[in-house]
Symmetry: none
Subunit: 259 residues, 2 copies
DNA sequence: ATTGTTTATGCACGTTCATACCGATTCATG
DNA sequence: CATGAATCGGTATGAACGTGCATAAACAAT
């Protein structure tokens, strides 16, 4: 890298590095960009103030929401559990299902009734591991380089593997949902992968916590349509669900959860 | 000498370990992260103050609300841990390593020092999941149909993916070891996969609990040779290790484990 | 072209932080 | 209650930090 980068360019580069490895060290960056550590510290301070990273002693970390360890089970487990139980009603014996990455989808797999027989394909190792604890699932993994933010394989190899599947149902993971913008995502490669997954499946199911309702992210995965089922929490506002229903999607609302 | 993890990252790693096994010991953590016990105690004190764990004499416990996950591999963990720590000495920064299925190999991945940077490929989802909890591993999965006995992908698709790898080291999983018969396995498809994996790698490492020494299974994976390192437990009989050494393999013996 | 203003950067200074070590104290256990 | 391990508090040290200031470049207005 040449030393004459604009400060904005340098900060963008730091953001990319943060996305990729989840952490940066002030000393490393100073050496890499051939500027003083003071400058890097100022960059990191500004970025933290703008909410783009978390400043820590020695460098900075990616925000928890974008961090490598995207399996944040336990945070809102009760809610996800209720959502999962509702989503499970859509699954029938003998189906072939593709399960996309996401902690909600992990909860869904963990909530599968022991009697159900499915062929389950996934690109997320944590989901595959959970599926193997179920007695009657045939498990297929989609391989490739694992993206640490997503916790799943989403590269070219993964897309190629995905071409071989024509699942009866695709269970899509965390993204923004908006009646106008449709399903949207934050990470370009991840969105590209999800798009293919959704297009190949006969039907699509999205289990979605309330905080994602109305969110619009930079990249479009798919428009809402009548091949799609949304599973929402019990506390989803009626106004929003009504708006969503105009697009033709089926809405499946979870039971309220105590606590 | 401190590990090059930021203190915040270390605390995050401790939280993950807490979620998984429900408890952590100060001494273990100090050894694992290569910092003094004082530092670990400070971490635990801070985390307890922040309400992230419960501090107890000797270590810390997960909060009751976050406790329940599947119970760990319990009994033989001490032995496998020792074996893993010995095997880890063979890994150097920047290597590309293929890790075969097996609970011993899972332990090896969990024992990787946080400072080590590797590219790690595996066909076992549980190993991929464990690898993602390490901050500096580039993880690649080999996809395909998962064999429930093995817990990993071993079919045609997996073999095809494997062709694309020429790792510096292949860490082979559970099998029989005999100085005359070499490495042997029980499941035909699994053996076929292991054979390819071993043949593609510049070197092979097998971490092997004492009960597998002298065992001969129906299918041959590979003969013992000078490209191969065996990691044995401290209690491996001298007679057996001497016999193995005549084949040219390098023997690496683990430290005895207390208890 | 000149002047003043903003911005980015580096340097010097004192401060804070993370850590290891040491001694005193507390704890679990026989 | 005796003993060794775990813990706490204090201290020392070096690295990382923030601030203030000076310099230099970019920019705007004259």
């Amino acid at each position: 890298m040449s030393s004459d980068l604009l400060s904005r360019e340098r900060q963008d580069a730091i953001r990319i590095e943060l996305r990729q490895s989840g952490r940066v060290l002030a000393g490393d960056l100073a050496r890499h960009f051939k500027v003083s550590e003071d400058t890097i510290r100022r960059d990191l301070r500004d970025m933290a103030a703008a909410g783009l990273c978390e400043r820590v002693y020695g460098g900075a970390l990616a925000l928890p929401s974008e961090q490598p360890f995207s399996v944040r089970t336990g945070i809102s487990r009760g809610r996800k559990q209720a959502l999962a139980e509702a989503a499970v009603t859509r699954l029938k014996d003998g189906m072939t299902v593709f399960v996309d990455a996401g902690s909600t989808n992990l909860a869904i797999v963990q909530a599968l009734p022991p009697g159900l027989s499915l062929t389950l394909a996934t690109n997320m190792p944590a989901i595959a591991t959970a599926a193997l604890e179920h007695p009657r699932l045939e498990v297929i993994t989609i391989g490739g380089r694992i993206d640490r933010h997503v916790g799943a394989a989403i590269g070219r190899q993964a897309e190629r593997d995905l071409q071989m599947l024509r699942p009866d149902l695709c269970i899509l993971g965390a993204c923004g949902i908006d009646s106008a913008a449709g399903l949207t995502g934050l990470v370009y490669d991840d969105v590209a992968f999800k798009t293919i997954a959704a297009a190949h499946a006969a039907a699509v199911l999205v289990a979605c916590t309330t905080d994602k309702l109305g969110a619009v992210h930079p990249f479009v995965i798919a428009a809402l349509n009548d091949r799609m089922t949304l599973t929402l929490e019990a506390d989803a506002p009626d106004a929003v669900t009504a708006g969503l229903e105009t697009t033709g999607v089926t809405i499946l609302q979870a039971q309220p959860v105590a606590g």
